[in-house]
Amino acid sequence: MIRFENVTKVYDQTARPALDSVNLEIDRGEFAFLVGASGSGKSTFLRLVLKEDRATSGAVYVAGQNVANISSWRVPRLRRGIGVVFQDFRLLPQKNVFANVAFAMQVIGKSRSIIRDTVPEVLKTVGLEGKEHRMPHELSGGEQQRVAIARAVVNRPGILLADEPTGNLDPTTSMGIMGVLDKINQNGTTVVMATHDDDIVNEMRKRVVELRNGVVIRDEARALYTSMIPVVGQSRRLKDASGRPDESATGPGDGSVPSSAGESK
C-alpha cells in the first residue's frame, strides 16, 4: 500500500537529511507505528506519502503508484484515498460536529443525501452518537480527536495517517482513541501512526518502525516501543534479531517474538 524505495529527504542542504535512504513497505490492511524521538523524521515520512513534499531522491509508491508521477491536478485524487489526523485536531471552530465531518464530503462534491446518510454512520463508528450538534469547544480533547478521525475516514480512504494523534491526550483518553483507530484498521483501512507514546505502542503490539535521525533503525512486527534488540549501531540494525529483550522494555515481554524486517513484509 505504501512503499518507500531508498527515499532521502533533504530540507536544508547544510543539515542532515530528514529521511536518509529509507526502504520500507507497509501492506494493505496493516497497522504500523512510526516511532522515534522528536525530529527523527516521522512527520516527514507522512508528508511524503501525501505528496505534500517531494522526496529528494528515491521513490514513494502509494497504492502501487509512484507519487512523483502524479500530476498536480491529480494530487487531490491521491489525497482522497488518504485520511489524515493530527495532534492538534484541526477542527473548524465555527462548525458543529456534523458540519465538520460533512465538510470533508462537501468539498469533494458529495451529494446532500449521501452526506446525510454517511456522517451519522461514521460518527457512530468513532463513538460520537448523539453529539452531532455540539460545537468543538463543547467537546473534550478525546472527543475532538474522534471528530477529526471521523472527518479523515468519512470518504472511506484506503490509508489513514495519524501524526501523534494522542500527543495532547491523557493516557485513558488515548487508549480510547487507539480503540477507534484499531476498529478502523479492522474494517480494512491501512493505518500508519507516528507517535512517541510508549504506553500505547506497548499496549497495541503492532508493527513498529523506529526512526533515528531519518534512518530506519528497527522494523519489528508485534513489537514494543523500545527495542528488545540491543541497537549498538546502524550496521547491526534489523538483521541482528538474536539479542535478548531490552531491560528497559516496560511492556509485557512474554510471547512477543521479535521478527526481522524481512519477515514483517
Binding site: 487531490p76 485520511g83 469533494i108 470518504n155
Partner: protein
C-alpha cells in the same frame, strides 16, 4: 452541491472581509469611472464631429431665408448663383487646391442635422428651410483655407465660408488632453485596485487557511479551493464597475442631458444610452483585473 458550497464560501468570505471588500469596490469604482470618462470624452468628440468633419475641411454656406450677410441681398441663393459657384469650384484657378467637393442641399443638411442632434430637443424645432445649403470642400492642403475663403466670401449667394476644422480643433485638443489625463489617473487607480485586490485576497486566504488546509488534505480540487477567493475579488470588482457605469450614465443623463444641452443648445451631446455601451467594457475590464490579480496572488499564497 459543490456549487452551493462554493457560493456559501464566497458569501462567508465577503462577510468576513467586509471592509476590504468595500474598499476594493470603491477603488475599482473610481478607477473605472476615470476609464469611462476618457471613453465618454472620445464619444463626445465623435458626436461633435458630425457628418462632415472627417470628410471635408471647408464649408461654403449659401444664403438662406433670414441671411443678413452682404452677399445675400437677393435673399435665398438662386439656382443660378449655385451654378456659378459650382463652375468657379471647377475652374482651374480653384480646383488646383481641392481634392473634391460635394453639394449639401437643405434636405441633406436636415438629414445630417437630425443624425447629429438625435439626443437634443432642438431637432424638433428645426425644419429643412432653416438650414442653409452648402458646398463641402476637401482640401488638398488644409492650410490653403485662406485662398478659398478670399475667393468665395464675396460671391453673390454665399453667406459665409468656414474652416470647420479650425472651429472644433481647439476644443477637441482640450478634450483629448482631458481624456489623456483621465486615462493616466485611471492607470494609477487601476494599479491601486490590483494591489488592493491582491492584498484582500491574501488576507482572505490567510483568514481561511484552516479551511483551505483541510480542503487540501481531504482532496478538494484546486478549483473548489481557489474559486471562492477568485470570485470574491471578481464580484467586488464587478460591483465597482457597475457603480462606475451607473455614474457615467447619470453624468450623461443629468449633467449633459438636462444641464449642458440647455446651456449649449447648438452642441450635440452624447446620449445616456451611448454611455451604456461603455458598461460591458468596464464590467469586463473590472472582472479581468480582479481575476488576474487574484490568480497571481493565490498562486503564491494558497498552496494546493
Amino acid at each position: 452541491m459543490r456549487l452551493a458550497f462554493i457560493l456559501g464560501e464566497i458569501g462567508s468570505g465577503l462577510r468576513r472581509n467586509l471592509s476590504m471588500v468595500v474598499s476594493v469596490i470603491l477603488v475599482t469604482f473610481v478607477s473605472l469611472t476615470f476609464v469611462g470618462a476618457a471613453g465618454m470624452l472620445q464619444l463626445q468628440i465623435n458626436q461633435m464631429k458630425g457628418y462632415w468633419y472627417d470628410k471635408v475641411q471647408v464649408a461654403i454656406f449659401l444664403c438662406g431665408d433670414g441671411s443678413t450677410a452682404a452677399g445675400c441681398a437677393t435673399g435665398t441663393a438662386t439656382p443660378e448663383q449655385q451654378e456659378n459657384l459650382r463652375t468657379l469650384l471647377e475652374s482651374p484657378a480653384v480646383s488646383q487646391y481641392i481634392n473634391d467637393f460635394q453639394f449639401e442641399s437643405k434636405d441633406d443638411a436636415y438629414k445630417h442635422f437630425k443624425e447629429q442632434f438625435s439626443n437634443s430637443p432642438i431637432v424638433d424645432s428645426v425644419t429643412p428651410d432653416q438650414l442653409p445649403a452648402s458646398f463641402r470642400i476637401n482640401m488638398k492642403d488644409p492650410e490653403k483655407y485662406q485662398i478659398i475663403s478670399e475667393t468665395f466670401a464675396s460671391q453673390p449667394g454665399v453667406e459665409t465660408v468656414i474652416d470647420q476644422r479650425q472651429v472644433l480643433e481647439r476644443l477637441f485638443s482640450v478634450m483629448n488632453a482631458a481624456s489623456l489625463v483621465a486615462v493616466i489617473i485611471a492607470g494609477v487607480m487601476i494599479v491601486c485596485a490590483i494591489l488592493l485586490i491582491a492584498t484582500t485576497i491574501r488576507l482572505s486566504a490567510f483568514s481561511r487557511r484552516r479551511e483551505t488546509g483541510i480542503m487540501r488534505l481531504v482532496g478538494a480540487s484546486k478549483i473548489v479551493i481557489q474559486l471562492p477567493f477568485i470570485l470574491e475579488g471578481v464580484i467586488a470588482a464587478v460591483i465597482g464597475a457597475a457603480l462606475a457605469s451607473g455614474t457615467l450614465w447619470a453624468v450623461a443623463h443629468f449633467f449633459l442631458g438636462e444641464y449642458m444641452s440647455k446651456q449649449y443648445p447648438d452642441t450635440a451631446f452624447i446620449s445616456p444610452a451611448q454611455t451604456l455601451l461603455l458598461a460591458p467594457a468596464l464590467l469586463a475590464l473590472g472582472a479581468t483585473l480582479a481575476g488576474i490579480s487574484s490568480l497571481l496572488t493565490l498562486r503564491r499564497y494558497l498552496r494546493v
